[in-house]
C-alpha cells in the first residue's frame, strides 16, 4: 500500500493496516467474443479501446483491482458501455469471468477465489454473502408473486421453513424499506418503479449479507423518487453497516453515496480515490469532463 507514514499519525496507520478488506478483487477481466491471437490479453493502453480490430471481441472489463472494507460504499462511475454492469454482474457471479480473483473475508476466511467456486458454493454465496439490486427490477423480482414471497424465496434458500417466522422477517424488511405491511402480499407488478426498487433492496438484504451490489438503482426513476431511494440506501448502510458497491453513470448519485470512487472507461479504471478528492481535484481528463458536467 502506498501510504506516506510521515503525513499520518501513528494511530491512523495502525488502524488502516489492521483492518481486513471485506472484498479483494484482483485482475478482473471479462471478454465478450471468442478472441484471437491479437486480443488474448486485455490491453492496458487507453488509446487502444476495448474492441479488437481483428476479431471484434470486446474486453468489457480490463484487469480491475480493488478492495472494499466492511461497511464502506465504493462508487463506480462511467459512461454507458464502460463496463459497469459487466463488472457488477461478474461480482454477483451472474457472468462467468475471463480472468481474475475475488475473495470475501467472511466466506471461507477469504481463502477461496469465489469466481472458481462450485455451482453449489456460488448459490450459497449469492444467498448469504451478497445481495444484488438490478437496474431492471424484472431481473431481481418475480413480478407476479407476492412481495413477501419474493423475500421468502431468499429466506427459504437459507433453510428457513417456518411460514410464521418467514412472514415476520418479510414484514420487518419491507417496513425497513418503507413498504406498507398491508401490501406485503401484493405482487411487485402492482407497484411503482420506486417501490419495486425498494422491494428489490429488501429481498437482497433478506439474509443479512455483508455486501450489497447496486446497479443503476435510481436510473429511470423520477427525481423526487430518486432522492428518497438514495436516502434509504444511505440510512440502511448506516443502520446495517453493510458494505456496498454502487454503480452509476450519474456522478451525482456517486457523490451522494460513495466514500471512495473508481472511474471506469472502456473497461479500464482510469482513476480511483476518495470521492471528495476526485470531485475536488480530478486527475484524468475524462474524470475532469465528468466532474465539470456535474457542476
Amino acid at each position: 500500500m502506498a501510504i506516506e507514514p510521515l503525513q499520518m499519525s501513528k494511530g491512523m496507520t495502525e488502524s488502516i493496516e489492521k483492518e481486513i478488506p471485506l472484498v479483494t478483487v484482483k485482475g478482473l477481466s471479462k471478454q465478450f467474443g471468442s478472441g484471437c491471437e491479437y486480443c488474448s490479453t486485455p490491453s492496458h493502453e487507453e488509446k487502444e479501446g476495448n474492441r479488437c480490430k481483428h476479431c471484434g471481441s470486446i474486453w468489457a472489463v480490463r484487469d480491475i483491482d480493488f478492495e472494499l472494507y466492511p461497511g464502506e460504499i465504493l462508487g463506480v462511475v462511467g459512461e454507458s458501455g464502460s463496463g459497469k454492469s459487466t463488472m457488477i454482474r461478474s461480482l454477483f457471479l451472474d457472468e462467468e469471468v475471463t480472468n481474475g480473483s475475488m475473495t470475501v473475508s467472511t466466506y471461507n476466511k477469504g481463502k477461496i477465489n469465489i469466481f472458481n467456486a462450485s455451482a453449489q458454493q456460488k448459490r450459497y454465496i449469492r444467498n448469504h454473502v451478497m445481495g444484488m439490486v438490478y437496474q431492471n427490477p424484472y431481473l431481481g423480482l418475480r413480478m407476479t408473486f407476492s412481495s413477501s414471497g419474493n423475500i421468502a424465496e431468499k429466506l427459504i434458500a437459507a433453510d428457513n421453513f417456518h411460514v410464521g417466522k418467514i412472514r415476520e422477517r418479510a414484514s420487518e424488511l419491507l417496513d425497513k424499506v418503507e413498504i406498507p405491511i398491508s401490501r406485503m402480499d401484493e405482487p411487485p407488478k402492482n407497484f411503482s418503479g420506486g417501490m419495486q426498487q425498494r422491494v428489490q433492496i429488501s429481498k437482497a438484504l433478506a439474509n443479512n449479507p455483508p455486501l450489497l451490489l447496486l446497479d443503476e438503482v435510481t436510473t429511470g426513476l423520477d427525481l423526487s423518487v430518486q432522492a428518497k431511494v438514495l436516502d434509504l440506501i444511505r440510512s440502511l448502510q448506516r443502520e446495517l453497516n453493510v458494505a456496498m458497491i454502487v454503480v452509476s453513470h450519474d456522478l451525482g448519485v456517486i457523490r451522494m453515496l460513495a466514500d471512495r470512487t473508481m472511474v471506469l472507461r472502456q473497461g479500464l479504471v482510469v482513476e480511483k480515490g476518495l470521492t471528495d478528492q476526485i470531485l475536488e481535484d480530478p486527475q484524468h481528463p475524462y474524470t475532469q469532463l465528468l466532474v465539470h458536467s456535474l457542476l
Binding site: A119, G149, A152, I156
Partner: protein, 296 residues
C-alpha cells in the same frame, strides 16, 4: 383365456414382451442407474409402442423390460383393474409374453399402476411400476429443462417451496392435491406421479422397489426399498393426507382407505366407496367368508 383368433397382431413376429432384447437391456440399464440414484430422473430412449404416448407407455416399457415368464402381472388404473386403459395394457403384455395376470394385489409380482398405490402393503418381492405423465416436479414453476436440470444439480428447490408459500398466502393452506412433491433421501425433489396425497406416506421407507416411467417425457426414476421419502411441508404447516372422517365405503364399510365420492343419481345423496376396487372386493369376500364360517 386369450386365444390366437382374437389377438390384435401376430405375436410370433415379435420378440417376447414386444420390445427387442437390445431395447430391453437399455431400459434395464437406465433402471439400474435410477435405482442407484433414488429420485433422480434418468433420460432414456423411449420406444414406439402400439399404444399412444401419454397412455402409460413409460410404465409399460418398464414392465416389458422387466417381465419374465414366471411373473404375474396386475394393472391398475386409478385404483381400478377394469378400465379400458388397464385392460388394453394387460392384454398387450399377456399376448406378447403369455404371463399370467391377476387382480389380487398379493398374487402379483409386478404391478403397473396409474394414479394409485394399492391399499394392501406390498412385499419385498413385489415391484410397483408407476405411469408418469409429468416427471419434472419443478416444471410448473420453471418451464426450461436446462434450468430445472441445473436446479436439481444444485439442490435449488426454493422456487417449489415458493409455490407452497404462495398457496398459503392466497388460500390459507397448501392446495396441491395429487402429485404432491416429495424429497427423496434428503437429496432429490421428485414427482410421485398423480397419486393422491393419501398414497405419499406409503412410499416412505417402503420395503419394495418403486419404478416411475414417463414415456412422452422419456424419463425413468426409482425409489429403492427403505428410502426416505418426505412430502414437502413447512414447520408450521404439516403435510396432511385427505380426510374421510365420518365416511365409510358403501360396499365393504372401510374407514381406513382412500374413498371415491359418487352421487346417487336418484336421491342426489353423496356416497363413498373404496378407490382400490381389488382391495374392496377382497374385504367383501372376507366378510362373506366370516359369515359362512360362522355357519360351520
Amino acid at each position: 383365456m386369450q386365444t390366437a383368433e382374437n389377438r390384435w397382431f401376430e405375436t410370433t413376429n415379435y420378440n417376447f414382451a414386444f420390445l427387442d432384447e437390445g431395447s430391453k437391456r437399455e431400459i434395464r440399464r437406465k433402471t439400474l442407474k435410477a435405482v442407484a440414484i433414488p429420485g433422480y430422473q434418468v433420460p432414456f430412449a423411449s420406444r414406439e409402442l402400439p399404444i399412444g404416448r401419454g397412455w402409460g407407455t413409460g410404465g409399460l416399457q418398464l414392465t416389458l423390460s422387466l417381465i419374465g415368464k414366471k411373473d404375474c402381472l396386475k394393472v391398475i388404473d386409478q385404483g381400478n383393474d377394469d378400465s379400458v386403459n388397464a385392460v388394453s395394457i394387460r392384454r398387450l403384455v399377456m399376448e406378447t409374453t403369455g404371463v399370467t395376470t391377476t387382480e389380487e394385489t398379493g398374487e402379483a409380482t409386478l404391478i403397473q399402476t396409474r394414479h394409485r398405490i394399492p391399499e394392501e402393503t406390498l412385499r419385498e418381492d413385489q415391484i410397483l411400476i408407476l405411469q408418469v405423465p409429468q416427471p419434472e416436479p419443478l416444471r410448473r414453476v420453471e418451464p426450461s429443462e436446462e434450468v430445472t436440470r441445473r436446479q436439481h444439480a444444485e439442490m435449488d428447490y426454493s422456487a417449489k417451496w415458493l409455490q407452497l408459500y404462495e398457496n398459503i398466502v392466497k388460500w390459507g393452506n397448501i392446495t396441491i392435491g395429487a402429485d404432491y412433491p416429495v424429497m427423496v433421501q434428503q437429496r432429490y425433489l421428485m414427482a410421485p406421479s398423480p397419486i393422491p396425497r393419501w398414497d405419499n406416506p406409503k412410499i416412505h421407507q417402503a420395503n419394495y422397489l418403486s419404478l416411475y416411467g414417463a414415456g412422452r417425457e422419456k424419463k425413468i426414476y426409482a425409489i429403492p426399498p427403505y428410502t426416505d421419502v418426505v412430502s414437502l411441508h413447512f414447520e408450521d404447516y404439516p403435510f396432511e393426507v385427505e380426510s374421510f372422517t365420518g365416511k365409510a365405503c358403501r360396499h365393504c364399510g372401510s374407514t381406513h382407505t382412500f374413498l371415491d365420492e359418487i352421487t346417487d343419481e336418484r336421491t342426489g345423496e353423496k356416497l363413498y366407496q373404496c378407490s382400490d376396487t381389488a382391495y374392496c372386493k377382497k374385504r367383501q369376500k372376507e366378510q362373506r367368508g366370516t359369515e359362512v364360517s360362522h355357519g360351520n
